[in-house]
Amino acid sequence: MEKHPYIIGVYDDEEPLIKAAQAFKEKGVHVQEIFTPYPIHEIISIQGETSKLTVAAYIYGWIGALSILAFMYYTAVIDWPLNYGGKPVNSFPSFILVTLVFTIFFVTIMSLTTFVFRARLFPGKQVQIADPRATDDKFVMICSISGKDKNEIEDLFKQTGAIEVYEKEL
């Protein structure tokens, strides 16, 4: 893969990072990515990141529930009705339990699959790490410098309290 030059700013707390993200946004400097050891909701909202995974899960829930209900009705009532101790073939109360648990089962599998495909995370994936301290105790922000004023970005990093600013090809 072709490598591009980036400026990396390292912060040691979340407060200056939030301020920095805000400052970059106000100045109209595009921040490529922000890596943090834990989720910071302010940053997520400044970056404008959203996820529709919950909407997908809701839809999976309906699909799971309706298909298992239809399946049980088809198998127990239409395809092969059997008399179990005189109970009605369409024993709906029993179906509710199975529907509930199967829906949970289905939503889990489908959400996991969606997550893996959408976030492109899978076992053994090789990644380029901007700064390995970002999963430990530092907060890392990277900006692409292709076609931009390098000094302006560097200054912005320093002004916002970055403890380290350096260049790296990723």
């Binding site: 910071i40 997520i44 919950t54 889990t108 599998i109 430990d136």
Partner: protein, 452 residues
């Protein structure tokens, strides 16, 4: 925001973000301690006995157990319910305390979830063996076949059980693994060992901690957490229907589902307490698993113990109030008095009375006392399941059918084997997995400046 000083600091010792990583990873970097190796040997011996007993059960048949026509369910079902109960702690901790916004759960949820996964696996062994012909296990899956009846019976609690346990195992394992992904990435980036970098790197699924990843991670955790909360309640309710939908005296009651769910969370929390005291002591994680954490678990245990006591008394009262002679016989002449007096009172004293000692602050601060009480609760919970299964089955409506029951060496072997598997799982967890959810602890550290 409403602030009180009910609880102490979440993390003691003035730790910073880097210290959390160093402290949590340290046990993984060190060589195994002598006690760990000895414990591993003991658990392997227990596992070997268990595997041999399972081999005997599968090759010879259920005849190797002490069960008979009257007492068709023996230790296997007692142990199944017991393990599933213990397996409720992880989800109860992660989910309920997440919903209740309890930040103190972050130091404990990883271990509780690990315990859940191993306990549910141990539990699943028993009903599978109890089928007798385990190689025909797939008969329970509804698919078109030539056996006739074509489909499974959806009215059967055993089918509900199969579905519930499979779903529970899947969801608890995925929730546990999901939480570990960022921590595996931390180890990958921190360790100097190339082998560890490769292995933890493989399992970290290419995690880098970008905001896109975090928002999807949080969404998925929210989804899995939300549906698992429903599952925690439904799994043990379904286990209770194995009993409640039958017509045995002492089983056919509506109190069973809530009574089982609360009992499960009770034994689960007790097991979490046992494990937390061990982890804290052996790995010097006192700054993370503080006295305040143990104090909080102890308070939950008192509360659940009161519910358990109320449930026991309600059952007894209803048996008398119903005027049903079979119920009265079961509760008054076959549990409180009679052949199973010892087991009944062990259950009542261990679960409803002993935990009341936790009202005393001095006991809540005494680790040895907490440890002993947590073990006593789990023994009591085992006796509860013994009472339910054996007393009702051995003496039902027709005295001509009455039969005694005692377990055989094979049955005991399977049980010891599952304890071995559980201990083995826990030991491997100590050695190879970060015991505390680092990313979650780091996220709550900003709240550590003031007392919670």
């Amino acid at each position: 925001m409403y602030k009180t000083e009910v609880r102490g600091l979440l993390i003691e010792g003035g730790k910073n973000l880097g210290d959390v990583t160093t402290d949590v990873i340290r046990p993984l970097e060190l060589k195994a301690a002598p006690w760990w190796k000895i414990a591993l040997m003991i658990t392997i011996i227990m596992c070997i006995w268990g595997v041999y007993s399972i081999y005997e059960t599968v090759t010879v048949g259920i005849g190797t157990w002490g069960v008979n026509n009257t007492v068709g369910w023996g230790w296997a079902i007692i142990n199944f319910v017991w393990w599933i109960g213990i397996g409720h702690a992880g989800t109860a901790f992660s989910i309920f305390l997440l919903i209740l916004r309890q930040k103190w759960r972050t130091s404990i949820n990883r271990a509780a979830e690990a315990m859940t996964v191993v306990a549910v696996m141990c539990a699943a062994i028993f009903p599978a063996l109890h089928m007798g012909r385990i190689w025909n296990f797939y008969f329970i899956i509804p698919y078109p076949n030539t056996r006739g009846p074509l489909w499974v019976n959806y009215n059967s609690p055993l089918f509900w059980d199969f579905l519930a346990i499979s779903a529970y195992l899947l969801i608890s394992a995925s929730f546990w693994y999901l939480g570990m992904i960022p921590d595996f990435a931390t180890i990958r980036d921190k360790t100097t060992s190339r082998i560890k970098k490769a292995i933890y790197g493989f399992f970290s699924m290419g995690w880098v901690g970008s905001q896109k990843e975090w928002i999807r991670f949080e969404s998925l955790a929210f989804i899995l957490g939300g549906i698992a909360a429903v599952l925690v309640v439904s799994v043990h309710s379904i286990v209770s229907t194995d009993f409640a939908v039958s017509v045995e005296p002492g089983w056919h009651t509506t109190i069973f589902p809530p009574y089982f769910v609360v009992g499960a969370i009770f034994s689960g929390f007790a097991m979490v307490m046992t494990l937390m005291i061990i982890i804290r002591k052996l790995y010097h994680l006192e700054p993370y698993i503080t006295n305040s954490h143990l104090n909080a678990i102890a308070k939950i245990l008192i509360f659940i113990s009161l519910i358990m006591g109320t449930a026991y008394l309600t059952e007894i009262f209803i048996a008398w109030y119903s005027g049903n002679e079979f119920e009265i016989f079961t509760f008054f002449h076959n549990r409180i008095t009679g052949d199973f007096t010892m087991q009944f009172w062990a259950m009542f004293i261990f679960n409803a009375l002993v935990p009341q000692l936790l009202w005393i602050k001095k006991i809540r601060k005494n680790l040895a006392a907490l440890f002993i009480i947590s073990i006593i609760i789990n023994i009591g919970m085992w006796f509860e399941r013994f009472n339910i299964v054996i007393t009702s089955l051995s003496k039902d409506y027709l005295p001509a059918n009455w039969a005694p029951y005692s377990p055989t060496v094979t049955e005991i072997g399977v049980y010891v084997g599952t304890i071995g598997i559980f201990a083995l799982g826990v030991l491997l967890f100590f050695k190879y997995v970060p015991m505390i959810a680092m990313s979650e602890v780091k996220a709550v550290m900003k709240f550590n400046k003031t007392k919670q």
